[in-house]
């Protein structure tokens, strides 16, 4: 039981910080500061992805043989901390965090060779086609149908809440290939090597924050090759379950982002007047509220550090669900306090000023610009990737044997 603070680690931290201070372009920095979602502005995000790839740092959590960094647990955490301190846009999770690790684990050799290099270097962006209008939390009830036809599948149906599908050039998805047996059976996991197949249509959905982050994707007799299948036909549910573990955490650290949110709230509070006198940052009630959140974020950081160091806490079958629940609810709570700090300053709708490279100045501070969109967008965190109601069901189910 020990934690070392070796000079080597401090040197590593300095190396990372120096790179983050020098490598990103102004547009990448602006995109980082204006990120009001899990999903950063697409163009600058991919540009930054490529810069990190050049440096060899695009996928620290991947095995070294596939382009990972081979860093220690503490190094990965330091990397994440410096990343957020520098307000850089987080890389998009669908490719690097989901389909990439999945292919490493379960893909054929051919799939790996074909797809992993361009996932790693940022040439490709993969959309995730899971949810459907009729199947939200009840994912297994999906009905988008794929019929085998020669070496192909013919897909009919639709997907919804497909993040950034309008930016994607590839897509992984779940389709129904059989209606026999339990609904979890008869699902197949497919890779689509393009998203412009004849019969495919992608329609962005405008969110509460005014941005088209999600999409609907329609399939009308879309013919795709069967070679894109991962795992066996009708065995896609177990493939998806494997991937969900990556999606719900364990591989990456969310606490540095939360730390940064609270820091930004503190920075803003240091110059906003409290109606009770002085600046908000010195107000005891603000201090108690933000202190309570900081403590909870610290506990999440402890939880994450134990997990990435291989502590038995990460082998608890409910670990992914706990991680997702804790993280998503903290994001919401952090966004609430950010929004409270902005107060009426957050009430202006400023879509144009939020755009990276916009020549429209924000009405108030840059903090006021982001706090409300971030609050509105974060309402999604307890809904997507399995609603928190479903996560709590899963957690309770693992306790049934206790």
């Amino acid at each position: 039981m020990n934690i070392d603070f070796s000079p080597e680690l401090e040197a590593f931290r300095a190396e990372v910080a120096t790179f983050f201070a020098t490598a990103p372009t102004p547009a990448i920095r602006e995109a980082g500061r204006k990120t009001t979602s899990v999903f950063a502005p697409f163009q600058e995000c991919m540009e930054w992805h490529k810069t990190l790839f050049e440096k060899g740092w695009a996928a620290p959590h991947w095995p070294k043989e596939y382009g990972g960094t081979g860093w220690s647990v503490e190094q990965r955490f330091i990397f994440a901390e410096e990343y957020r301190k520098a307000d850089l846009p987080p890389l998009l999770p669908q490719s690097l965090g989901m389909v990439g690790p999945l292919l490493i684990d379960l893909g054929t050799e051919e799939q790996k060779q074909r797809y992993l290099p361009t996932i790693l270097n940022g040439d490709d962006f993969w959309a995730q086609g899971y949810s459907e209008p009729g199947s939200g939390s009840d994912l297994a009830s999906l009905s988008c149908r794929a019929e085998p036809d020669g070496d192909d599948y013919i897909i009919n149906g639709s997907k919804i809440w497909t993040t950034y599908a309008h930016h994607a050039n590839r897509m992984f998805m779940l389709v129904r290939t059989s209606t026999e047996g339990k609904k979890q059976q008869g699902i197949t996991f497919l890779l689509l090597d393009r998203v412009d197949y004849p019969g495919m249509e992608i329609r962005p959905i405008v969110g509460l924050d005014g941005f088209p982050e999600q999409c609907e994707v329609f399939f009308d007799n879309v013919r795709v090759p069967q070679s894109g299948r991962v795992g066996e036909e009708n065995d896609g549910w177990s493939v998806a379950k494997h991937l969900l573990k990556h999606e719900r955490g364990g591989g990456s650290a969310a606490s540095p982002t939360l730390v940064r949110y609270l820091e930004r709230a503190r920075e803003a509070a240091a110059i906003i007047a409290s109606p009770f006198g002085g600046v908000l940052a010195d107000d005891p009630v603000f201090q108690r509220d933000i202190g309570e959140l900081e403590a909870d974020v610290a506990s999440l950081a402890h939880f994450e550090k134990l997990a990435i160091s291989g502590h038995s806490i990460a082998r608890d079958p409910s670990f992914p669900s706990m991680n997702k629940t804790i993280n998503s609810e903290l994001v919401q709570r952090a966004s609430v306090i950010m929004n409270q700090v902005s107060g009426v300053g957050g009430l202006a709708r400023q879509l144009e000023a939020l755009r990276v490279g916009s020549n429209v100045e924000p009405l108030g501070s840059e903090f006021d610009l982001i706090s409300m969109p971030l609050y509105l967008n974060s309402r999604a965190t307890t809904i997507y990737a399995g609603s928190n109601e479903v996560q709590r069901d899963l957690i309770a189910r693992t306790m049934a044997g206790a």
């Binding site: 009840d138 007047a273 009770f276 009426v344 202006a348 400023q350």
Partner: protein
């Protein structure tokens, strides 16, 4: 001796027949002309609000309602306004009723300077609209927090400073402006024309679809007649208290809509083969929404009756604003969660109700401010 007191029924929380008639006619008009699609079309149009709707409000007498009869109004009570304002919330009305009539209009009406009284007639007829330039940024929860300064200059005054979130501010014919007489003097109220030199208007739309502006005053010179009240603190407190009650009624209307829409959705939307409302986690969330709404409705009803009786205190207003602000956010967040992804789209009305409730909470001191005020004795 207790028989003496028997049967003193002194609390009356019901609307009068006239109030019910007014409420019903407003509700009928909005049901017919202001459904969500029409409202969204209006919000995404170039117009800040609907001139037609505004005229109709004038015809229904809403614009003249709160003004006294000797000023050309209808002498309506706060209860009259509460009676129909819930419909405004239900329909997410973007017309500047509270800012032009309940705030700016009431301020002109409270003036001891009769030079500007003809504006009341214009406001009450719908011919003109007024903006209320009061808010100065996070925290203008009380007139005592006003920092903008008015300096005497010749016969008149020079106003310098910045106002934020002036609803209808870019489109109003006149602005009522709160400014302090020198750095430490009392807060006074001024009337400023929309074309005054030195006004620097940044127009925008609020998250809840209303036209608003931040307005910088670069040494705006006004005449002596522009002063509505030399010491307006007390008047402002009373005016804002009434506006808060009417905005609160709008908020309760929005909560009511969220509650019924969400209950209905939960009973029809199926997951795992059964309506999601049959899952206890959703059912209990609905129950909590119902409880929050019932508390909010009770506090609205009681506080409006109290205001009607003239017995309302700053504490009652803090209870009101604190509770309704807090309940509104809780109800809105639950409604979104139960609606899932749909609740997060711009297309559905759910999120728009929530944005209205966010705006309600943030203005005139948020719930945390008012609840803490209650804790101070």
């Amino acid at each position: 001796m207790h028989a003496l007191w028997q049967g003193l029924e002194l609390m009356d929380f019901s609307f009068s027949q006239e109030q019910e008639m007014l409420r019903d006619s407003v509700a009928r008009y909005l049901d017919k002309n202001y459904d969500f699609d029409a409202r969204q079309a209006l919000v995404s149009s170039a117009a800040p609000w609907s001139a037609e709707v505004w005229n109709q409000f004038a015809e229904l007498g809403l614009l003249a309602l709160p003004f006294s009869e000797d000023q050309g109004g209808l002498g309506g009570s706060i209860g009259d306004c509460v009676a129909f304002a819930q419909s405004f919330g239900k329909h997410l009305v973007v017309e500047p009723y509270v800012s032009s009539i309940m705030l700016a209009g009431a301020a002109i009406a409270a003036s001891d300077n009769t030079a500007n009284l003809d504006w009341i007639e214009k406001l009450a007829s719908g011919e003109a609209v007024a903006g209320f330039a009061y808010e100065e940024g996070a925290g203008t929860a009380h007139p005592g927090l006003i920092k903008m300064v008015a300096e005497p200059s010749g016969d008149g005054f020079v106003l310098s400073g910045e106002k934020r979130l002036v609803l209808a501010g870019a489109d109003a014919d006149i602005l009522v402006v709160a400014a302090r007489m020198g750095a430490a003097g009392p807060v006074a109220l001024f009337l400023v024309g929309k074309d005054a030199d030195g006004l620097n208007v940044s127009a925008y739309t609020t998250i809840d679809g209303r036209s608003a502006a931040n307005i910088r005053f670069d040494a705006v010179a006004v005449g002596a007649d522009a002063m509505l009240l030399a010491d307006a603190s007390e008047a402002l407190e009373q005016i804002i208290a009434k506006a808060i009650i009417v905005q609160g009624a709008e908020a309760v209307g929005a909560m009511d809509a969220l509650l019924s829409l969400t209950a209905e959705y939960a009973m029809t939307r199926k997951q795992f083969g059964t309506p999601i409302g049959t899952f206890q986690s959703i059912a209990h969330r609905l129950a909590d929404m119902k409880i929050a709404y019932s508390k909010a409705l009770a506090t609205l009803t009681y506080t409006a009756a109290l205001a009607n009786s003239g017995a309302i205190t700053a504490r009652d207003i803090s209870v009101f604003k604190g509770q309704l602000g807090k309940m509104g956010l809780a109800i809105g967040e639950s409604a979104i969660q139960i609606h899932g992804g749909l609740g997060l789209t711009d297309e559905l009305n759910i999120g728009h109700y929530h944005k209205r409730l966010l705006a309600f909470d943030a203005q005139f001191g948020d719930h945390s401010y008012h609840l803490r005020k209650l804790g101070q004795r």
